[in-house]
Each structure stands twice: as C-alpha cells, then as structure tokens.
C-alpha cells in the first residue's frame, strides 16, 4: 500500500513538474519574449496595405456631377502558370473577348499580361464562379488575378470638357480643373493592416475611413448646354475652324459657361487628340479687331468727358496713316460722325483720329487696367497673357492700330472680362471657375468674388453702356437685338495676320460679338468668337445671331422677361 502511495506521489510530482515547465515556458513566451514573438508572427501574417481614396467628384454650380470615379477591377494573367492551368474558352466567354486573343495574350513571354481592364463587380463575380481552372486549383493558383482600379467617368459626356479636363491612364489630371486641383481630387491614401489565416483568408484589422472630396464649379450645366448646342450649330453653318463662347456673371466674375467647338468626348479614350486638351477660350490669343474699341473709347471718356460731344470726320472711308499704311472703314464711306456713331458704325478711321487725342501711354495704361497683357488668374492651366507691348516699343502708327484692335493679341476670356467691367459699374473682377472645395460634403474652402481694381468711373460706364446699346439698336450689332430686352454689345471682324505673306490676310477673319444684357441690370456677359468662317465673315451676320440665340435662352433660363411683353400683358 505504502509502495502504491509512493508511486501516486511520484506520478503527481511528475505531472506537477510537467505543468510547471509548461507554465515556465508560457511565462517566457507570453511575457518575457512577448515582443519578439509578436513581431515574428506579424511579419508572417500581417500585411500593411495601401488604399487610395476614390478621386473626388467635380460638380457644376447646381451640384450636378460632371466627373465621377468608379471602382472597377482589371484582370491579369501570369502566362507561365495560366498556360496549362486554365480553360481559355470559358475565360474568354466571361471576359467577352475572342478566345484567340486571350490565347495569344497568355502565350506571351511576359511575367504578367493585362487581359481586360475596367471590369465591373458582377463581371468579376462571373469570372470567379466560372470553372476556369482546369485542375483543382483556385483562380490565383491557376495564374489569374485582379487588381482594383478607378475609372474616371464623365456622365454629361463632352459637356464643359475644356473646363473639367481629363485624367491620364494613371488617373492623374492632365487638363482643366482635373489638372489644377489634381492633388485635392486625388486625396490621401490610407494605410491599413490585414491578417492572413492558414487558409489564406484576409482579415482587415484596422482601417481609417476615406474622405470624400469634391470641387464645385461656377459653371451652370443648363447654360453650358445651350452654349455648346449653339456653337456647334454655328460651326456647322459657317464651316469655321473653331467657335468659342464664354458666359460670365459680370457682378461676381464667375464663369457660367465656357465652351469651344470642335471638342472631344473625355469618355472615349482612343479618340483623344492631345492638341485638343488646350482650352481655346484661355489658351488661344488673337487680334481682337473692333471689339477692342471700347478700351480707346473708355480712355477718351476718362480723360475728357466732353469727347462725347465731339464730331469725327471719317474721310469717306479711306485714310492714310503713313506713307505705306492706309486704313479703310470696311465697305462704308462715312463723313462726319459723332463719338457714339464711330462706335455704333465701327469706324476705324474715327478711332484712329480719336487715338491721337488720347496718346500712346494713356491707351497702354488703360489697356493694362482692363486686364490686357497679363493673365487673369483663373484656376485653369494653360492660360495665355496675350501680347501688349510697352509704348516704348510701339511704332509710329501703333496707337492708331491698337485703338481699333490690331497690333495686340488677347484671349477671349480677357475680352469678356473687360466688357464685364462696363457691365458691373467699372470694376475689374478676377474671373473664377471654382466656387468651393468640399470635404465629406462640408465646404473646406469657398472662393469669394475678388475685385482687382476700379478701372473706369460710373460716368464713363453710363456713357459706354449707352454707346454699346446704340451699336445693337442702330449700328453693326443689329442682329443681336432682342425684343423687349436692352442689349449692349459690339461686333468685331478682325483680319488674321498671315505669317507666310507677312501681311494681313484678305481671306482669313476672326468674327466676334461681345455684349451684356439686360443693359440696366446685367446678368451675363457673353462673347461669341468664330475663327475663320467660310463665305460670309462679318461679325454682324456670323457671330451676332449666335449671341442672340444664346442670350435668348439664358434670359429664359434666368427668368428675365422682355419688358414689352410684360407691359402688354399688364395692359390686358
């Protein structure tokens, strides 16, 4: 019995010692060498992954999306593994590709080949559930894998494409707002840790929520749509090289629409032409012609308010500036014209004579004050400053030539912004294309209207508005007249300089019309520019009717009714 008890005690002691040794080992593993082992495990099991936030949305001023991003996946194959392990026919069927093309890609001598990009979740699911591997392998083991990507989509197609811009294959902004606000739209990438279990299943242990970013533009899709529809029609009717239009709110400097035709569809990748990414409304400069006459008129009025009463003899349509330069008043032979009439009938001779009383330096100073010869500061890439030489570099006839828009180059944006100076009471506003930046729906930055400077006095503004109304009422801008609405505007038909002939071309013209409406309380300033129209080229018959159609639609959209119609209804 005693012997049995000794045995029991011995076994108990042995078991106790076993437990003790396990306890000691556990103590050593869990407490003393805890950090070492946890590091060892995390090295083998935990993976740090990077998650790129979805590219931000670009909205118009009414929060209508113009550019959004979608999560898609691209399907890749490792040819070495895939060659013998997959059923090519069923894979081709799932990818909606010809079997020959899939087979050709898989037989390439590369480490990895792209089979198809931009697959939607249900397409991926179809591939994952189809019997693609020949043996009892999973898809990854058989050499087929997926990579998450982002697909940039433009739901409105080509609407406002020059403003919105485009992204490249790597989702980096290449033009427009996509380029200017690339860093903001890309957002931050978040790092997160995943653990992988024995069966290769992934468990996310920590992940930060991603920010949703957005850029809100000042563009109004409805106005932009009307503008694009009308300039496309004008392009087809005139067979021009290019038609450009900008609509600006003169009170705030906000751009309501900015379009050029021909344009491109940002959703169609293979038809992209790199030259077309340049926004002609800010990146093309041209000699403005008669639309520039308001600068000389404003300078004259600022220096001598009584100039309004003066008369100018227009030499019956022909006037010699120097021995080899003679200027003409298109097809008209004018005699004596008032200050208002030289603008209404767009007399080059009248303005050449007016410029003599102004002087070169004053004309240059006011040209600069109106924003010519410098970038406007709009939040778009590729803006040109135009060309305005300092008066020291002007020739003997430069003052006369510049007064009617030659020997100077400007962008359409500079012209529309200078007319907004008259429309808003004399202030040069900074043109803006971005209204605000949003982060998770909350405004992170709001772009307020910026007044750059006062350019002209209220007296000059009133006189210029009257003169521009006269242009539309009885002058060259007759085709822009809207019944019941006071429209102020100016036509411009500029000869293009032919660098081969080294003189102004008699066949190539830029026809433009700039104006604002209603003149008593301007809601919009619009420029329509038709580059090299074929056949009829006078702005009065090429650009003014386009302006009229656009202005009519904008007024209707803004709920501004013709005064005469309201009056007649009230009489009823």
């Amino acid at each position: 019995m005693k012997n049995f008890k000794t045995k029991i005690n011995f076994i108990s002691l042995f078991v106790l010692m076993c437990f003790c040794s396990i306890g000691v080992k556990l103590f050593q593993v869990q407490i003393i060498r805890h950090e070492f082992f946890s590091r060892l495990v995390s090295l083998k099991v935990d993976r740090v992954k990077k998650s790129q936030a979805m590219r931000g949305i670009i909205f118009d001023s009414n929060k209508r999306p113009l550019a959004t991003a979608m999560a898609v996946e691209s399907c890749y194959a490792e040819p070495k593994k895939a060659k013998n392990n997959i059923n090519i026919d069923s894979l081709a069927k799932c990818l909606d590709m010809p079997a020959d093309s899939v087979a050709a890609k898989i037989s390439e001598n590369k480490k990895s080949v792209l089979l198809k990009k931009y697959l939607y979740p249900d397409d991926v699911e179809k591939i994952k559930t189809a019997r693609i591997p020949r043996k009892k392998l999973n898809l990854l083991q058989s050499g087929i894998y997926f990579e998450k990507k982002q697909l940039r989509r433009y739901p409105e197609g080509s609407l406002a494409n020059y403003v919105v811009g485009i992204v490249g294959a790597d989702n980096n902004g290449q033009a427009g707002v996509e380029c200017t606000f690339d860093k903001f739209l890309t957002g931050n990438s978040t790092k997160y840790i995943t653990s992988i279990d024995g069966k290769g299943r992934e468990t996310v242990t920590s992940k930060m929520s991603e920010e949703e970013r957005a850029v809100v533009l000042t563009i109004d899709s409805s106005i932009q749509y009307v503008v694009e529809r009308e300039i496309k029609k004008a392009y087809q009717d005139t067979n021009a090289n290019l038609v450009t239009c900008i609509v600006q709110n003169p009170q705030t400097g906000e751009i309501l629409a900015m379009a050029s035709y021909p344009s491109f569809n940002p959703n169609v990748e293979h038809k992209r032409n790199p030259k077309m990414f340049k926004n002609p409304a800010i990146g093309n400069s041209y000699e403005p012609g008669s639309v520039y006459k308001i600068v000389a008129a404003a300078t004259a009025l600022e220096n001598n308010p009584d100039v309004y009463k003066e008369k100018f003899y227009c030499e019956q349509g022909e006037y010699r500036l120097s021995n080899d330069v003679t200027i003409h008043d298109s097809e008209h032979k004018y005699g004596s014209l008032s200050f208002e009439e030289i603008l209404a009938y767009s007399s080059n001779i009248g303005f050449a004579k007016l410029s003599k009383s102004i002087g070169a330096r004053k004309l240059w100073q006011y040209s600069r004050a109106f924003g010519f010869g410098s970038k406007s500061g709009i939040e778009l890439p590729g803006e040109e400053s135009g060309l305005l030489k300092p008066p020291e570099k002007w020739s003997g006839i430069s003052t006369e030539m510049i007064s009617f828009g030659q020997e100077i180059s400007v962008t359409p944006l500079q012209i529309v912004n200078s007319y907004s100076v008259i429309a808003n009471g004399g202030f040069l506003m900074e043109p803006r294309i971005v209204k605000s930046l949003l982060c998770n729906g909350i405004e992170q930055k709001v772009y307020e209207p910026v007044v750059i400077r006062r350019v002209i006095s209220q007296h000059t503004v009133s006189k210029l508005t009257e003169m521009l109304e006269a242009v539309v009422n009885y002058g060259t801008g007759d085709n822009a007249k809207l019944s019941g609405i006071r429209v102020a505007g100016k036509t411009g038909t500029a000869q293009k300089y032919d660098s081969e002939l080294r003189r102004y071309s008699a066949k190539k013209y830029v026809s433009s019309f700039v104006g604002f409406f209603p003149a008593e309380n301007p809601k919009a300033t619009v420029i329509v520019l038709v580059d090299e129209p074929k056949g009829e080229y006078y702005a009065a018959s090429v650009a003014a009717p386009v302006f009229k159609r656009i202005a009519g639609s904008i007024l209707e959209y803004l709920n501004v009714h013709p005064v005469t119609e309201i009056a007649s209804k009230q009489n009823l």
Binding site: M70, E125, R201
Partner: protein, 97 residues
C-alpha cells in the same frame, strides 16, 4: 494529517483543471474572435461589392438623365423642339408677384 493531504491533492487537481479551463477558454475566445472578424470581413467585401454596383447604377442614371440624352429623347420620342425667345409666355401669377 490524512485529511489535510487529501484536501491538498484535491486543490492541485482543481488548480490543474482551472488552468486547463482558462487556457481552453482563451483559445476558444481567440477562435471566436477570428471567426467573427472573418464574418465582418466578408460582410465588408459584400458591402463593397454592393456599393460598387450602386455606383455603376448611379452612373447609368446620370448618363440617362444627362442634358444631351434628355434633349435627344425629347426630340425623338416626344417630338419636342428647343424653345426660342419668341416662345416665352408670361403667366399671370408671375406678374402678380
């Protein structure tokens, strides 16, 4: 003395069982934690898939309701025409306001 020894061995056995129980509970709890995180993970994956599908449908809606598509549909299906400035009709209620 005999009773003391008996109770001492009982204590050891109880102690050993408690350690085994706590150990097993710890392992079971860890397993449950893993299973749960896998479940959460699969739900996350499903949510991501549904969200992606939702995005795709939203995109389709946006494309269908795009201004260009609406105008085309209006013209082709309903024979509508783009309004002109001459077509504006002033409604009496607007005048009263």
């Amino acid at each position: 003395m005999k009773n003391y020894r008996k109770s001492k061995s009982k204590f050891y056995i109880l102690f050993a069982f408690s350690i085994i129980y706590i150990g097993s509970f710890f392992v079971w709890e860890k397993m449950q934690q893993k299973l749960l995180s896998q479940k959460i993970n699969s739900i996350h994956a499903r949510t991501a898939k549904v969200e992606a599908e939702n995005q795709r449908i939203d995109m389709k809606i946006l494309e269908i309701t795009s201004l260009n598509n609406l105008e085309e549909t209006g013209k082709k299906r309903f024979g509508l025409v783009a309004p002109d400035i001459a077509n504006i009709v002033i409604i009496e209620d607007d005048l009263k306001k």
